[in-house]
Subunit: 268 residues, 2 copies
């Protein structure tokens, strides 16, 4: 099933816009998990088992699967395979290269690894996008305005993020969306205006300081299809480091899901 | 030994500014190599054996080591380990993420994989650079102005590449350099003016149409330390697909080395 169809289906079946970020850094895992044979996978498996009826998607970040060399990438592949097929998997890799190089990433991650979507970095221009366009069942979230403080170094001056956003808006909605940092309170409304139909992947809520209320109010598409996925990583998966971490992750996921849905329901 | 020391030493011992790009895509390897147990590694090994006295560095591109899943990444790790220790290895991955995420890339590639340098994408701003700064023995080539046609989409308007270049210029020369596309004939002089001391990694010569003469004349730092690494990938490694591919790769590397040195020698 295509990413887009999975997205449309899961937001209704799980009544959720929550993206759980699987930033499963080995050094941060609970001690009792470190004693298992494949700690990263065991950790992810427990998180997935505890949250799969509450999420809209999972987003593993590639960088956190390199700590033990290829063994950790194997844990990543096992994690992707373990995620139920109806839940979209977004590999956060911020890939940005051209032509055949980018096509190699796409073939590898979409076809061999069975990932539904990736994040990509548009700095090198339309060549990045062109290479992804043939993969019609997959999806790419293009960095439009990130959530980190230094997003203001290059993305904000001369309205670069607006130019990138306008370009994203011209791409097929079912194949391309935008990464929009939830910390950019002042720009959220403008970003939605520039990309009225685009699916937003929104990091930066919670630990990074973005306000959930403002994110939802300013970026909602419609009440039945918000067109956003609100990410929480550490705030969910590392909320507790005891033997109860998965149960606490479930509670945090449920809380975030409820908060988002409540803000939407109360909108006029 | 640090990347910077390796660079300073190899350009003298091998009298070379040639970077051989190991874009060793499985589908493009000579047929007789495909019959070996680990074709990607066997191919690279033959190229390295044939060129190691002629090069300034090797640059494998991460994307081309994903075709067969983790097996190809193992071939990449074997390749990195096989490259003689005095020759710098640049992993072309165009990584661009923040804080702890970027530090994870750095730890993995610099410390576990034993890579000397990476390429990185600065779109997310100084946070990308800050995370790399503590790795003083390593090096990062920051995308300043790439060689592909759509570099003009975001990097050229409003002189974004000039702003990025000025920022690179302010970083320690022994830790940060710039990716400067050889196709940008009109901007080369300006790029060197903006980054007078920085080491340039220059793709785009040959297949992509950049003129070697103009690249050398416009970006040379000094006659004894050019401060550039001129990359050729396909033009060297896939110049011949017969059983003689390694010998032909040697000839192409030697030709490029000679051409560069000749242009430098003839400069006033």
């Amino acid at each position: 099933m295509s990413f887009w169809k999975k997205y449309q289906t899961i937001i209704k079946s799980n009544k959720s816009y929550v993206c759980v970020g699987l930033d499963s850094e080995l050094s941060k895992l609970p001690i009792h998990i470190l004693e298992t044979k494949d700690p990263i996978f065991e950790f992810n498996k427990a998180i997935i088992d505890a949250t799969k009826d509450l999420v809209a998607c999972y987003k593993p970040n590639f960088a956190f699967y390199l700590s033990q060399g290829l063994k950790s990438l194997e844990s990543l592949q096992k994690t992707i395979a373990y995620i139920p097929d109806n839940i979209p998997v977004i590999l956060d890799i911020k890939a940005g290269d051209i032509g055949n190089t980018m096509a190699n990433y796409a073939r590898a991650f979409f076809q061999n690894w069975n990932v539904d979507a990736i994040t990509c970095n548009p700095l090198m221009g339309q060549d990045v996008i062109k290479a992804l366009a043939p993969f019609e069942d997959n999806f790419a979230f293009v960095l439009a305005l990130t959530s980190n403080p230094s997003a203001s170094d290059y993305l904000k001056p001369n309205d670069l993020y607006k130019k990138i956003s306008a370009d994203i808006s011209g791409l097929p909605t079912s194949q391309f969306g935008a990464v929009v940092g939830g910390t950019n309170t002042e720009e959220l409304l403008e970003l939605r205006r520039l990309m009225p139909e685009s699916l937003f992947l929104i990091p930066g809520i919670g630990a990074q300081g973005g306000s959930l209320q403002e994110v939802v109010l300013n970026t909602l598409h419609t009440k039945t299809d918000a067109r956003f996925l609100i990410n929480s990583s550490r705030g969910i998966i590392f909320a507790d480091s005891s033997i109860n971490f998965a149960q606490v992750a479930r509670e945090k996921t449920e809380l975030l899901r409820t908060q988002i849905n409540k803000i939407i329901a109360e909108m006029r």
